[in-house]
Symmetry: C2
Subunit: 172 residues, 2 copies
Amino acid sequence: MYYCSQCGSKQLIKKVPEGDTRSRIVCEKCHSIHYQNPKIVTGCLPIWEDKVLLCKRAIEPRSGFWTLPAGYMEKDESVKEGAIRETWEEAGANVKQLQLYLIVSSSQKSVSMIFLGQLCDLKFAPGIESLDVQLFTKEEIPWEEISFRFVREALTYYFEDRVKNQFPVRVD
Amino acid sequence: MYYCSQCGSKQLIKKVPEGDTRSRIVCEKCHSIHYQNPKIVTGCLPIWEDKVLLCKRAIEPRSGFWTLPAGYMEKDESVKEGAIRETWEEAGANVKQLQLYLIVSSSQKSVSMIFLGQLCDLKFAPGIESLDVQLFTKEEIPWEEISFRFVREALTYYFEDRVKNQFPVRVD
């Protein structure tokens, strides 16, 4: 952010506004406060029998690494609808019976909310942000080529929980 | 948003960028795309024995109506830490044993994430955004003076679930 989106001034400074406790980007000309809050990344761990569906990223960051279908939530959808949409867009797959599984606030920029979802059928294909889409058993997961921490966490928890057939929601 | 925060131009239009499916605010001068995504409101339903703690809002919107301590998540905290912070800031109360309870995507601007939390003690007091803070039994809840839909939903679900002593996570 280089210019105030309210008045167009370049007089942006970082300071703690009166009555606040945190440093914000403030416009010295029009006094607008530009809050920066984490965005929501919503996604899905698609399941088929003893396998899970992963996408190989076609875009940076972490291009070429395996991920879960996930992306920024849009304004015109619920978190769950966003997870279904991302699974369709990135993996060409339809999922059903979504249940919230994991919330990770590890990044300052976003909170990842991951659902478990059952694949409706065996139709899947890479979207424009994916190089490949594949089903993996636990033993086949390419652990050395996983894109992000939340993906690793979701997969690790899932294969642990599957032994007990209990899938509690985990929130950090 | 009246000016591009990247180049200061006023040439902002709404259009569907190439490769996208949704209308965005795009700068015609520098071609920046200004995505607008929902923010996270994190909050708590503080519990003491058969009572819940509500805050009377001192600020608009819905000034004078009763709410749960809740507010925008900050970048330097987890969702759960944000709920604890908001409970302290708005109700002067300490909560523990937080468990995720409700996620509501009802507004285009935000997703509300509400935790159940146990009050650590009977110390509470209105913060600067509250006119009053009070404990209410189910019968005492001022249903006609509730601020927002997510507050009404959280309270309704909670008193229903308490009968069964089971508090499943609800996600819309």
